[in-house]
């Protein structure tokens, strides 16, 4: 049995018929992963405090996704564990039984507890009728921005790409020698060890290599990173109106340019509909939390 360590009661700020009330942050696991190394720039030498939490409450069946934003975390010795709030992506409630992971810095060795404050954010698309935008025959015209009143109103521009369009976009995103020099210079400026800088360069090159590896059946969407940040999820709907299962999804961002790749498990119908689930102000419910975490 894995007993819940504690409960954090939070108060709902928004109210309504379908409102989520009595929202509770339930602490499942605490991992204080403490690491020291003779080679600080080596692999797996970064420790930290990780929590596994569950968000519970009434009306949660309407909640599609959730996230926890930690604004303040301090151990009982006064060590601050958050330099700036980390805003993770919304995490689907259907994944991992709704368990969310929260990571902050390392508490002092002799600390016995950590107090965390922040907000639980819930994504409730049913609160905004405009949050779901469906575009019929969306993949019939490629390399031109999707056309829909709702997208225009939301000032979102997303473009489905042809293979040629994708090749051109990938080429424009190729990492140049100049980019690598900039990355190294930035690393040095921030005082990062040489090994860490070279690891970052290798990672950037590896991620770029992934751009080349796109299947023939993949749906590729291009847009600005800030636009994709305002979309919770994109589905391709089959003729029955149900989302087609994707074997993998990924978004690769380079500065303000992002490419989203969806790999369908089955061939797409010619008249496939795209469904964009938007993150609007109305769809978000913010609940403050104040949690005391006993350290193991």
């Amino acid at each position: 049995m894995r007993p819940a360590l504690g409960l954090c009661f939070a108060f709902l700020l928004a109210a309504g018929v379908e409102a989520q009330t009595g929202v509770v942050l339930e602490l499942e696991d605490v991992v204080d992963n403490r690491v020291s190394s003779a080679d600080p720039g080596g692999f797996q030498v970064q420790g930290g405090l990780e929590l596994r939490v569950k968000v519970n409450g009434s009306g949660m069946d309407k909640v599609t996704a959730a996230r926890v934003i930690v604004r303040e975390a301090k151990d009982d010795k006064g060590t601050s564990l958050v330099s700036k709030p980390n805003v993770p992506d919304f995490y689907p409630r259907e994944y991992n039984n709704g368990t969310l992971q929260v990571a902050v810095g390392q508490p002092a060795r002799n600390a016995t507890s950590v107090r965390m404050k922040g907000t639980i954010e819930l994504y409730v698309p049913s609160r905004d009728p405009g949050a779901s935008v469906k575009i019929a025959n969306a993949l019939a015209t490629l390399d031109k921005p999707l056309s829909a009143k709702a997208l225009k109103a939301a000032k979102l521009e997303i473009t489905p790409l042809s293979r040629e369009g994708y090749a051109a976009a990938a080429k424009a995103r190729k990492i140049t020698e100049k980019d690598i020099e900039q990355l190294r210079a930035e690393g040095k400026k921030q005082g990062a060890p040489e090994k860490e800088i070279e690891l970052a360069v290798a990672l950037a090159q590896a991620f770029e290599g992934m751009d080349d590896d796109v299947s023939d059946t993949a749906v590729i969407l291009s847009g600005e990173t800030s636009d994709f940040d305002r979309i919770y999820r994109i589905e391709v709907l089959g003729e029955d109106g149900e989302p087609i299962h994707m074997t993998s999804r990924g978004t690769s961002s380079r500065g303000e340019s992002s490419l989203m790749t969806l790999n369908p498990a089955q061939p797409l119908p010619a008249n496939a509909t795209l469904q964009l689930m938007l993150l609007t102000d109305k769809t978000r419910v913010s609940v403050p939390f104040d949690l005391k975490v006993p350290l193991p």
């Binding site: 696991d29 204080d32 403490r34 003779a38």
Partner: protein, 289 residues
């Protein structure tokens, strides 16, 4: 009498000292105190052995005799079993040792107290499997797939009292029949008969000795438990790890690397009295993260 006892003690302690392992220098590479109320709580200390090359160590284990933090907490798990020799992944995956890396081992202990700041004492023995110390440490059998049906002949296998024979399809069928007969007798003695007995036998045989193309079935006799690891090596020299699993007295050799090809070699690494070397080590005041 007292004099005799004292003399006996001196003689005994000298004999014990003569058997003591030589000391080896160790350097702490990493300390990981993973503390959790969930699973996998431990203190892991990774040690480098600067005088030993990683390329010379096929496997290792650490036998701890004392581990105490500065709060006085004993860090040895009283319920832990004696560790097994752990393969050197760099070596078994065929990763080139360039530049040469020192051998490394890791010690798994229980979490120290939160108030502790260091491991006051860590003491024990490091056991290394060093194949170069014995010419009979490794047997390499070229084109081993073609030996199916016959006992594999190799000087090192013989020296270690090991017999390996890969089974042909006909031999697997014969084994199945032999087991079926034995099972039939066993079920009959338990009172099963007729259709029920037939169904039970069918279901037993369905799961018995099913071999896919990445697997080989072998009869292995290793009375002294000398086999440490079996790997395959393809024509380009790439090492393919092999998993071993026992079933009804036979051993499955399976690999994720696909169907064993006719030009592959089988490498059998063995523990012998000459290639297992023990070194004593001691560390004090290892800072805790």
């Amino acid at each position: 009498m007292k004099k005799l006892l004292a003399l006996a003690l001196i003689l005994f302690s000298n004999a014990a000292a003569a058997q003591q392992a030589a000391k080896v220098d160790v350097a702490v590479r990493q300390v990981n105190d993973r503390r959790t109320n969930g699973s996998f709580s431990h203190l892991m200390i990774a040690l480098d052995l600067p005088q030993m090359k990683s390329s010379e160590v096929a496997a290792s284990r650490v036998l701890i005799t004392s581990a105490v933090d500065d709060s006085g907490r004993n860090l040895r798990d009283p319920e832990a079993q004696e560790p097994e020799l752990e393969a050197n992944q760099r070596l078994s995956m065929g990763i080139k040792d360039d530049p040469p890396m020192p051998a490394s081992v890791s010690v798994m202990l229980m979490n120290p107290d939160r108030k502790a700041t260091k491991v006051r004492e860590l003491r024990g023995e490091i056991e290394l499997l060093m194949p170069a110390k014995d010419p009979n440490s490794v047997a390499e059998i070229p084109k081993f797939v073609s030996t199916s049906g016959k006992s594999i002949s190799h000087r090192a296998l013989k020296a270690n009292g090991i017999e390996i024979a890969l089974l042909t399809t006909a031999q697997i069928e014969a084994e199945k029949n032999r087991h079926a007969e034995a099972k039939k007798k066993e079920y009959a003695e338990l009172g099963f008969a007729g259709e029920e007995l037939a169904n039970m036998l069918t279901s037993f045989l369905e799961s018995l000795f099913g071999v896919d193309e990445t697997e080989l079935l072998a009869r292995i006799k290793d009375p002294n438990k000398r086999i440490q690891q079996i790997t395959y090596i393809d024509a380009a020299g790439e090492v393919k790890p092999v998993m071993m699993r026992d079933e009804e007295g036979l051993v499955y050799l399976s690999t994720w690397a696909g169907k064993p090809q006719v030009d592959w070699k089988m490498r059998v690494s063995m523990k012998t009295s000459k290639n297992i070397v023990r070194y004593a080590f001691a560390l004090n005041d290892v800072p805790l993260p």
